[in-house]
Structures are given as C-alpha cells and as structure tokens.
C-alpha cells in the first residue's frame, strides 16, 4: 500500500488565508490543488511535508478563463477539463485544446489544475510548454497583498523548482493577445496514452496584414532541464513569408539547441529527431490556423 508519510491537513478558505497559513508554517507546508502530481510524489516519499494546505475551495476565486482585448487571464485553479472544454479559449489559442487532449486522461483532468501543473515544474510537463510558447507571464501573490508578475523563464528556476517562494501562491497566468492573425498548435509523442511526453512541441505564429510572420515562438518539453523557448527560432522566422523551407530551418534549430538525455523514454538522438519533426509539424499547423 502506498500512502504518504503523516502530515497535518489544513483547508484554505481564501487566497489571503492560504498565504497567512504559508507565512506561519514556512517550508514545512505545501499547497495541494488537484494533487495528481504531489500525492504520488508523497506516496513515494520523494516529497515530504508536515502540512498540506488544500486549496480546492479556492476554485471559485481562482478558477476562470477571462478573455480581454489585449490579454487572456486564466486563474491558477482552472482545471484541465475546463481548459479542454473552453470553446472561447480554443478560438484564441487552439494550442490549449491540442495539449489538453493528450494530458493524462479524462478522470485525472477533472482534478489537475493549470497552477499545479506549472508549479510542479516537471521538464516534461505540457502546460509549461504551452505557456512558454505563448509568452505567458505568471502572477504570484505574497503577504500583505503584494503581487509580482514574472515571465515563464523567470518562473522556472530548474526542474521541480519555481520562483514561487514559501509564503507565496501562483494565482494567475496572463497571455498576451497580439494584434495580428494568430495560430497555435501542440504535438506530443508519448509511449502510451496519457503518459509523459517523450518530446512535445508547441508553436505559435502571428501574421501581419501582408501574410508575413510578425512573430513566432516555439516551446519544447522533455528536452532539457526546463521547458525551453527558443529565441533563435523566433529571430529566424520574423519578417519571413511562411514556407516549408522555413519550418525545416526552425526544426533544425530546435534539434541543435535542445538538450535531451537518453532515458527509458528514448535516446537523445531520437529526441532530437522528434524536436525537429514536431517543431515543423506544429509550425505548419499554426500557420494554417492563422490563415483560416
């Protein structure tokens, strides 16, 4: 029987009350949202805490998808299923629906949250790659109503490590909506349904009125210590006319700049091949969506 080591259970009733608990309990406490990453790690004693603070009651406060003119704001407690089922979100950023279709399984998606996925900071985690691709920023709230906004690069300090301090909570993700025709896509290769990615890639494209690439971003998962955005690809694509040769170039850059390791999911060479292929594939889809 796998059970976590003993801990004290607390239930948060508001964001501010949760922060108050975190201030008091320090690094002996951890927030638990859906729990589908944290509880398995605690069962395996890979993570041990004296206190767990259940924030599921904060879904009313932090579970939302708000579409504004220049920005989409998504609450950290928004569950995978809600991200998958939101037609409005899929309309603006179809990459979310692509990714959510291949994250875990429908039952797990009923519990897992956007904020929990990002805070887990697993290098193979799909929503981190999505948020990196979309140039999202993370809103982190701390004691006395202080709030700071960090980029995904700043948010991910290292594997399983984020910029969120012991007395802080990730409350919201903000994604810029640029004034261009946009398209985005996600693709993942996994060993079996619902598994972690062998490699996955996200792409987002913004086309100007002349149909040229105003901006482009690619985010890869499972090929380095963090989910990695690749500025070199963005630089190579900006100002260009979308074309197959350009996707090949981007794929080559992805394969060259990523940093995979050989493990049970595949060899480093195979993962580089996938980074190349999935970069091309997602760029192709993103462009066709931006044009439609």
């Amino acid at each position: 029987m796998q059970v976590p080591a003993p801990f004290e259970y607390e239930r948060a009733t508001s964001v501010d009350q949760a922060i108050g608990l975190l201030e008091r309990l320090g690094n002996s406490a951890r927030l638990v949202a859906g729990g589908h990453s944290l509880l398995p790690m605690m069962k395996l004693r890979l993570a041990n805490f004296e206190y767990l603070i259940d924030i599921n009651d904060l879904h009313g406060e932090l579970g939302y998808i708000r579409l504004g003119a220049g920005e989409v704001r998504i609450g950290a407690m928004t569950r995978h299923r809600e991200l998958l089922e939101s037609d409005a979100l899929a309309e603006v950023f179809p990459i979310f629906r692509d990714a959510e279709r291949v994250i875990a399984d429908p039952i797990v998606r009923n519990r897992g949250t956007l904020g929990g996925s990002l805070c887990q900071a697993d290098p193979s985690e799909d929503l981190s790659a999505v948020c990196t691709t979309l140039d999202a920023s993370c809103v982190i709230r701390g004691p006395r109503n202080t709030e700071r906004v960090v980029s995904m690069e700043e948010f991910h300090v290292g594997p399983y490590e984020t910029a969120v301090a012991d007395n802080e909570i990730l409350t919201e993700i903000r994604i810029p909506v640029k004034p261009y025709a946009s398209g985005s896509a996600y693709a993942k290769v996994e060993r079996r349904a619902g598994d972690w990615a062998v490699v996955s890639a996200g792409a987002a494209i913004w086309l100007d009125a002349a149909g040229r690439i105003a901006d482009a971003r690619v985010g890869l998962a499972a090929v380095g210590p963090n989910t990695t955005g690749i500025p070199e690809i963005s630089a190579a694509l900006r100002g260009q006319e979308p074309a197959e040769a350009l996707y090949e170039l981007a794929g080559a850059i992805a394969a060259r700049t990523c940093d995979p390791v050989t493990d049970t999911r595949g060899s480093a060479d195979y993962k580089r091949h996938l980074a190349d292929e999935l970069t091309r594939r997602t760029l192709r889809t993103a462009v066709s969506r931006a044009r439609s």
């Binding site: 796998q2 259970y9 259940d54």
Partner: protein, 156 residues
C-alpha cells in the same frame, strides 16, 4: 482530524489521519468495498468514484479533501434490487470477466451517459481511456455502454 463526508446520500463523520486516501476511507473505514483498490498510482482507474458529481481516482484524493462533499460509489448505482441501466448493460453484454475494473468502469460510464446519452464508440473509448481492463479488450465494455444508451433512450 475529523471529517464529514456524504457517501451515496448518507452522511458519515469519522476520525481519520490527514494522509488517509479516499479509497481506503471508503473501503476500510466505511466498509464500502465495492470501490476497488488497484494500482495506487492513478493509472488503472478501478478506484473511480464521483466527488461532487465528477469522476475522480480515489487513490489520489485524500479523504480529508472529500470533507463536506458528496461522494457516489458503485454501491450508489442500483435502486434497491433494480440495477442501473449501465450495470444491466455490463451484465447483458459481458462487460466484465474478472470484475476487478468494473466498479470504476461503471462509475465513469454512468457519468458519460449522464453528459452524453448517445455516445459513439470513439467517445466511449475516450471516456474510459484512463482505466485498464485486462479481460475484455474493451470491446464488450463499449457494447455494454451502447446497450445502456439504447435502453435508456427507449425507456424515456
């Protein structure tokens, strides 16, 4: 700590450890052994129950998290001696052989039919994609759900 959970319409208040998982609370504390305990890793899905109307894997939910919420287990499907149509479907179409995965399958498929009374084979297979059956190859589970869908539609 003390927790109060409503299971199949009955309210239970029990003294538990914070680390107790919902599956063990149901089986060992309440004696509701219809919910099965399988892989412990949220992969196999035999422990699926509903919490506030949504299927969850009860091996990866703390009993404390269910405090103040409504849980429905496989014991809550039948109405006395009258089986729920999804149970009858599994019986009619051999939706089980060893029966180990069945409680989780039934809870997920009941939820599917409530949301989508006329699911396609693809939709059924997607709905149970987080659950493992080693006997049926899933074909007879798909047939069972279709049986329930057709009979429910006919009885309305």
């Amino acid at each position: 700590m003390q927790v109060t959970v409503t299971v199949n319409g009955v309210e239970y208040t029990k003294e538990i450890e914070g680390r107790l998982l919902l599956v063990h609370f149901l089986r060992d504390v309440l004696g509701l052994t219809g919910t099965h305990w399988g892989c412990d890793t949220s992969n196999c899905g035999t422990c699926v129950v509903w919490m506030d109307g949504e299927p969850v894997k009860s091996c990866t939910v703390l009993a404390a998290m269910a405090g103040g919420r409504e849980v429905r287990t496989v014991e809550g499907l039948a109405n006395g001696a009258e089986l729920d149509p999804i149970q009858e479907g599994f019986r009619q179409c051999h939706g089980l052989q060893c029966g180990f995965c069945t409680p989780g399958m039934l809870m997920t498929c009941r939820h599917l039919l409530d949301k989508n009374p006329d699911p396609t084979e693809g939709e059924i297979r997607e709905a149970i994609s987080g659950q493992i059956c080693r006997c049926t190859g899933y074909s007879s589970i798909v047939r069972s759900v279709r049986w329930a869908a057709v009979h429910e539609a006919a009885s309305k």
